[in-house]
């Protein structure tokens, strides 16, 4: 990957990955808080580098903003703009290669478990302390599912996905 501007190929790859991530999000939408978005953005950051990962996170988030035209907008959009780029930062800080699968599972699991903190912070600003606290507490079962499912998918899929993507990257 070049250090300056993205090449046309890099830009296309980021777009395609963000679109795939979005497609996976839609496919798994019926399962409450079971998702592969975290894993895919994490894998992309490890294999393609922080800059590409961060850009893919923003492109993916923009796609979900477009989606809100259909499902309706909400303060979750702001939370998405915090969470997904933050995940790429966490990945960049804690994950260096595909062999760190247990660490990847831990990062993804904790990210899933604390996913709603940013939403709660936004609700704290917009609606006050009680609303934010109520939101956080009522979300505990969903956060538990999110954390556990992220941990499990990370444990099993982080390494094979990284390997495949790195192979494709090297051909690229």
């Amino acid at each position: 990957m070049s250090k300056g501007h993205f090449s046309l190929r890099e830009a296309a790859l980021i777009g395609v990955w963000a679109a795939m991530t979005f497609a996976v999000k839609l496919v798994l939408a019926p399962l409450a808080n079971v998702e592969l978005v975290s894993l895919m953005l994490c894998v992309f950051t490890v294999a393609m580098g922080f800059r590409s990962g961060l850009t893919a996170a923003f492109v993916f988030t923009m796609l979900t903003v477009c989606e809100s035209a259909y499902y309706g907008a909400g303060d979750w959009i702001a939370a998405y703009f915090i969470n997904w780029p933050l995940l790429t930062v966490l990945t960049w800080l804690f994950l260096k290669n595909k062999d760190q699968e247990i660490r990847a599972a831990a990062v993804l699991g904790l990210f899933g478990f604390f996913f709603d903190l940013s939403s709660a912070a936004i609700k704290l600003i917009l609606f006050g302390r009680i609303y934010a606290l109520t939101y956080l507490i009522s979300g505990i079962p969903f956060d538990a599912i999110h954390g556990a499912s992220n941990f499990i998918t990370g444990l099993f899929l982080f390494r094979p996905l990284c390997s495949q993507l790195e192979k494709l990257r090297d051909k690229f």
């Binding site: 079962p141 538990a144 599912i145 556990a148 499990i152 099993f156």
Partner: protein, 133 residues
């Protein structure tokens, strides 16, 4: 990491999530009062000029249980919905679901849960008022 180890870690994560969820529901479930309780049921249906009060002693934990026990007296009609049972009729008056519902108050304050989750507490008054939507 070996596949077997991954399975063990996954089971541990799933178990932790299940424990947390079970703990959450145990903690957040309405606290019921055991034993005999003395409660008052008030039914207000202004359109029929009904305002009746009934006093009961009960061992039931939730309001829905008492309403079923006293079905003959209160002429209770209930339906099962997504969030448990809800009252559709009292004292022979059925709520038109398109226009009205039975509002529930506990000692004058709006109940935050339905009758299936609303605990009976000694000395409290449960008021059912047919209210326009």
């Amino acid at each position: 990491m070996k596949y077997k180890k991954k399975i063990i870690f996954s089971l541990a994560a799933a178990a932790a999530a299940i424990l947390l969820i079970a703990g959450y529901f145990a903690w957040s479930a309405p606290k019921t009062q055991q034993g005999n309780k003395s409660v008052t049921i008030q039914v207000v249906i202004s359109s029929k000029e009904i305002n009746q009060t009934f006093h009961y002693r009960t061992n039931q934990a939730y309001v829905s249980g008492l309403l079923k026990d006293e079905k003959n007296d209160l002429k209770t009609e209930m339906q099962k919905g997504q969030y448990g049972e809800f009252v559709t009729g009292l004292l022979g008056v059925k709520a038109d679901s398109k226009k009205e519902y039975f509002n529930i108050k506990v000692d004058g304050k709006d109940a935050t849960v339905g009758v299936s989750q609303l605990p009976l507490e000694d000395g409290k008054t449960y008021t059912f008022t047919l209210t326009a939507l």
